[in-house]
């Protein structure tokens, strides 16, 4: 499936002395849903603008569908549908006219413009209010209209900047489901940026964690989770029916005989064991051998929330302990991640 449609190489953007994006290398393949994650001001929007040729990079190259986005932005814009962070429409025109205008700008033949616009409105579920002024639209409706506008040009790539901002939870779910469905049906590549982790987790094939202009990690969520948990200690929680057979002697046996066990803690009917690698099978065998009735075994999984949190915790503590400028702590932080 190695078929890159977006290739960013050595991409750098400077605003004065501030590095908004710092030597970014990123490849996104066809049909993939890629989530760009990061806190506000991490350089997500700047990266997106450079991908579209709306901003010139200070250094590096952007290739979208094999076209250089900096020197030939119009050809890229023909292929890419972009929905900005704050979608705005011409409030004085009705929603359908807004859509028709964009369709015309994309060179859709005049006879096909209206039918297609109406079709798109139906696709995003706005057919009932398409003759309403765009100014009367709620945030969620505007977001849908924005999606309709992105889709009407039949793009190869969709770029969504904070698409879930300001929509209620059920709306978000629907919206993301719609994006995923479209991407799968028509093999559209989707790049979406967000700081809402759990939402991104639902739809993305791969995520990139973006902090202070650098891509700290970029992979499948499961692999990121593995990476993180291999570095961190594993925690296994075992619940037993009766804790009394679990004696101090038994505890010592576990700690000494099974290599890698770091700590054992008992509270009520649950025994929490911290270990350096995944020891669940060994632990269970040992428990059974000792005549304990196991009711449940829980292995701690790292979700995106934890992954994200972990990266930011590191970031934050480094920041505090260093108390120095961003670039310095970034460097030391980066080393830590690589180790």
């Amino acid at each position: 499936m190695e078929n890159p449609v977006i290739e960013l190489t050595g991409l750098t953007k400077l605003y004065g002395s501030l590095k908004a994006v710092d030597n970014l290398n990123l490849t996104i393949n066809k049909g993939e849903i890629y989530g760009l994650l990061g806190p506000n001001g991490a350089g997500k929007t700047t990266t997106i603008l450079m991908t579209l040729g709306l901003t010139e990079p200070s250094a590096g190259k952007v290739n979208v569908c094999g076209i250089n986005a900096t020197s030939n932005p119009v050809a890229v814009k023909r292929r890419v549908g972009y929905m900005p962070d704050n979608v705005g429409f011409y409030d004085g025109m009705n929603a359908l006219d807004n859509l028709v205008y964009i369709a015309r700008l994309n060179g859709i033949p005049e006879s096909a413009v209206r039918p297609r616009a109406i079709e798109m409105m139906e696709a995003v579920g706005l057919e009932r209010s398409m003759y309403k002024k765009a100014g009367t639209y709620s945030r969620g409706m505007k977001q849908r209209l924005g999606l309709a506008e992105v889709l009407i040009k039949q793009p190869d790539i969709i770029i969504l900047d904070e698409p879930t901002n300001g929509i209620d939870p059920s709306g978000v779910k629907e919206f993301l489901a719609l994006i995923r469905q479209l991407s799968r049906q028509q093999n559209i590549t989707v790049l979406l940026s967000s700081h809402h982790l759990n939402q991104v987790q639902q739809v993305c094939d791969r995520v990139g964690i973006f902090v202070e202009g650098r891509l700290l990690a970029s992979d499948h969520i499961s692999r990121l989770s593995d990476q993180l948990s291999s570095k961190e200690s594993h925690i296994v929680t075992i619940t037993v029916a009766d804790v009394s057979p679990f004696t101090d002697h038994h505890q010592q046996e576990i700690e000494q005989q099974i290599a890698g066990v770091k700590a054992v803690a008992v509270s009520g009917n649950t025994i929490t064991i911290t270990c350096t690698r995944n020891l669940t099978p060994e632990l269970v065998r040992s428990f059974v051998k000792n005549g304990l009735d196991i009711l449940g075994v829980q292995q701690k999984e790292y979700g995106l929330e934890e992954i994200y949190q972990r990266y930011f915790e590191n970031n934050l503590t480094e920041n505090e302990s260093n108390g120095k400028s961003g670039s310095l702590f970034q460097r030391s932080f980066f080393k830590k991640i690589k180790n």
Partner: protein, 347 residues
Amino acid sequence: MESPVVYFKDLFSKKLKINAIALAGREQVMHRPASPLVTIIRKEIGDHVRSWRFIVLLVLIVLTFLASMYVSVTNIKPAAAGEEPQQFLLYLKILTTTDGSLPSFHIFMSFLGAILGIGLGFDAVNAEQQNGTLIRLLAQPVYRDNLLLAKFISPLIVITTLFLSLALLMIGGGLIITGVRIEIVEILRILAFILLTVLYVGFWLSLSILLSVKFKQATTSALTAIGIWLFFTIFYKIVVNMIVKAFLPDPAFLSPDDIMYYNNVILNLLRFSPSQLYTDATTVLLMPTVRSLGPLTVEQMAGAIPTPLSFRESIMIVWPQLTGLFAATTACFALSYFFFMRREIRS
């Protein structure tokens, strides 16, 4: 509340289509998609025509026009009495005659034109940016210069239509009221006057578009544009007078040649103001008897035949003014291009 909007919508919708087709050129086949420029122009014209802002400006200009027409028509008789019948150009007189209670239409236009230009252009780019529509628009396969050109061309189309219809109304009304035939030279001069007015409005339009590119807030650009306009209409003359008093010698001690020279210097200084250029040019175009915009010596006047100038000669006199206005317009437009083309657009 809806009625004027609906009225204008119906009135202009045909015109819009005609304009768009005319712009697209003859080879444009109907079922082929229109070029982005034409699409944007069409939408912009529609927006302008339906906006309350334009309706207010329109009412302002139409009222001014009617008032000055009324004054000139009621005073046309005394004005006509002193003229030789062969040299009397009625329709130019209607445009310029006044009894002093109201300035004539072309003087009115020297400041209303500025307001019109500023009013139609001050939020051209920054309002779109504020609303978040600019980034959406530029994410479409549209060149940035297309957008800027459309922002400039569409108000020009609207005001050309406006002034042409006003002039035609005036000529038609004059024909009905007086029954005097219109001379070709009058048509030429009135057309030239309209073109000049459009050019003048175009200057203020490109200036305000420049400011709207430069400033993020529409109010800032509007205020700056109005500030520049006020400076040129009120303060500039005062400043020039002060400089003249401070630096130029007392005329009482000067030879006539020197006085003439200094007079020309002062006039040239005043001509840095676009409204001065416009007033100069319209005066010459609408009054064929005006032979020069500067002072003339007795020697220069000797042997002159007291007839009105031909259209070509009037144009020759105002050519520098026309060039000046055109150059200023182009300069503003080029600057806004320069600022806009490589700018980062964020919502």
